[in-house]
């Protein structure tokens, strides 16, 4: 079948399968290179995922923040009055203040979880946070919250059975809180889980926070208006101390900031870079060793009148076979490692098709280029010198 495919003997495959031990070693090498890159990409992907996940919680179009705020949790507050000013801008339908803070939850068994707490007025006519819809009325009561069932540090099933009538009570910041509903977010790099509450409960939990100084202001535009147009109008209307961006744009900027300016992001990005470089070196070693091992035989073919394109064909054939057969165990091991890492860290480490495809294509290109580079020696030399 391969003979028909190539229109010649499948030399590459025959060479590879001739020595099973060497083939297995080569495949293990390619698989290892894949695993290396996948793990680094998985960790970086988890960072990116946890950065942008909270933004997806909100059904809003534009985010107003302080000009020195790079993420949802850092920087100064923004004056609530900016929300009222925003309402005067054409195209703005609603402006909702949002408060953000981290709450430490110390449990009876001595374990602690940090909950990233979001608060807004549950009586808002538009429900900005979908999980809040069902529990909006209950949240208007004092000290009621929605809790994250995927919070890191909890044993499985700890928060099962929470409902409006059967709240889960716990203590934090010297107040007894009642969880009347749940959401599932999971932890990130700065918090273990998410908590949603009303603005009034938030002020009781964080007495140093003021109703006049929310962390951010969420803007909803009038139906059918392009949010980017409103963003431009808001930038003109509001002072420079306020940063205006679409919610998606703010999420991207946050991700960019955390992956390029925060140590964690830089380290993970660096890990990907090193992983890719080491992967390329491994693959190059495998292909160039293979070419070197067969140089004598290639020289014979050259002496018989085969041209450089024939050798390129063999090397590409080998590159494709190695990339393909090495990728299968590579991705399988990576998936297993992802599951292990996810359950150990509570981070959303997941494989997506685009990453898998990119790594496969990258492996294929690295294999092919390595093979092509390795055959240069054959192209330069006289066949008689290589026997």
């Amino acid at each position: 079948m391969l003979t028909r495919l190539f229109g010649r003997l499948p030399i590459g495959w025959l060479q590879l399968s001739h020595n099973r031990t060497r083939l297995l070693a080569a495949l293990a090498g390619v698989a290892f290179a894949n695993v290396l890159v996948f793990v680094q990409l998985g960790i970086l992907g988890a960072l990116n995922g946890t950065i942008t996940a909270p933004y997806a919680l909100f059904k809003a179009d534009i985010l107003l923040s302080s000009s020195d705020a790079n993420t949802l949790t850092d920087g100064s507050n923004v004056a609530r009055v900016r929300g009222y000013e925003a309402l005067s801008v054409p195209g703005v339908a609603r402006a909702t203040p949002l408060w953000v803070a981290n709450l430490d939850w110390l449990r009876e068994d001595g374990t602690t979880s940090t909950l990233q707490t979001f608060a807004l007025d549950p009586a808002q006519p538009d429900k900005l946070i979908p999980p809040l819809n069902a529990a909006a009325r209950a949240l208007q009561l004092e000290d009621t919250v929605l809790i994250d069932t995927a919070t890191r540090g909890l044993r499985a099933g700890h928060l099962d059975g929470i409902a409006d009538g059967t709240p889960y009570r716990f203590e934090a910041n010297n107040r007894t809180l009642s969880a009347v509903g749940t959401l599932s977010m999971g932890g990130g790099f700065s918090a273990d889980g998410t908590l949603i509450t009303s603005d009034q409960t938030f002020f009781r939990l964080f007495s140093n926070r003021s109703p006049s100084a929310p962390s951010h202001i969420l803007i909803t535009v009038v139906d059918g208006v392009d949010p980017t147009v409103v963003v431009d109008r808001l930038r003109d209307a509001l002072p420079d101390t306020v940063k205006v961006d679409t919610l998606m744009g703010a999420a991207d900027a946050d991700q960019r900031y955390q992956t390029t300016e925060r140590p964690t992001g830089i380290i993970f990005g660096f890990g990907v870079l090193i992983g890719v470089l080491v992967g390329i070196v491994i693959v190059y070693q495998i292909l160039s060793t293979d070419v070197a091992d067969h140089l004598r035989e290639y020289a014979t073919f050259k002496a018989m009148g085969y041209g450089q394109s024939f050798f390129m064909g063999i090397v590409f054939e080998e590159a494709i076979i190695l990339a393909l057969l090495g990728f299968i165990p590579g991705i399988a091991i990576s998936l297993a490692l992802y599951v292990g890492l996810s359950s150990a860290t509570g981070l959303p480490i997941a494989m997506d098709a685009a990453t898998a495809l990119a790594v496969f294509v990258g492996t294929l290109v690295a294999c092919s280029v390595s093979g092509a580079v390795a055959t240069r020696r054959l192209a330069r030399a006289d066949p008689a010198d290589l026997f």
């Binding site: 073919f301 050259k302 018989m304």
Partner: protein, 196 residues
């Protein structure tokens, strides 16, 4: 055409570079006549293999001239060399069979270099050539499982099998071998393989 297929003139060849540069052959000139069997004799290290590889397009000519089938090899392009190599049958000193190919596949490599013919016919031809050399019971053996003599015969079949499939060209028709132009096969029953 009466021109000799191989004409060498004033060939010099050196190996190594700098202080280690050593001359291997000095001013060699020879002409090999069409249809002749020429044997090159000399003590070890006298440059026999060097001369053969120069005339066989396996080594760049440094000084002097080699006319191979009317083509000058000194300064010949890679393209030209590749084309000329296909018109030669070179039996290498150490067989140089491909270790992961069977006896038949090794011969096939000698046929496929001339283009993608009918694979079934090429395979049949390769098997036939091996049978003529007494390897009919070793067709699918890897070189590692062949004796030294069997390897030599396999290499011979690889080097000369192209005579059957090669289209006759103006000056390349080999003089040796029981080669039938009409059928482009080895001559049938009773014919002896060419004496190599």
């Amino acid at each position: 055409m009466t021109a000799s297929p191989i004409v060498a003139e004033g060939l010099n060849h050196w190996f190594g570079s700098g202080d280690a540069r050593k001359q291997a052959i000095w001013d060699v000139s020879l002409t090999i006549a069409r249809g002749s069997l020429t044997i090159l004799m000399g003590p070890s290290g006298s440059g026999k293999t060097t001369l053969l590889t120069l005339m066989g397009c396996l080594r760049d000519v440094q000084d002097g001239s080699v006319l191979l089938l009317g083509d000058e090899l000194n300064g010949a392009s890679e393209r030209r060399s590749v084309a000329l190599r296909r018109r030669l049958g070179f039996i290498f000193q150490a067989h140089n069979l491909h270790e992961s190919l069977t006896a038949t596949d090794n011969v096939l490599m000698g046929l496929e270099v001339h283009g993608r013919g009918n694979p079934a016919r090429q395979r049949e031809a390769a098997r036939h050539a091996l049978s003529l050399l007494g390897l009919s019971d070793r067709l699918d053996y890897l070189p590692a499982n062949l004796s030294g003599g069997q390897k030599q015969r396999d290499a011979n079949a690889r080097a000369l099998s192209f005579l059957r499939t090669n289209r006759p060209q103006h000056s390349t028709r080999p003089a040796a071998g029981s080669w039938s132009k009409r059928s482009r096969r080895w001559a049938p029953d009773g014919a002896q393989p060419p004496s190599w």
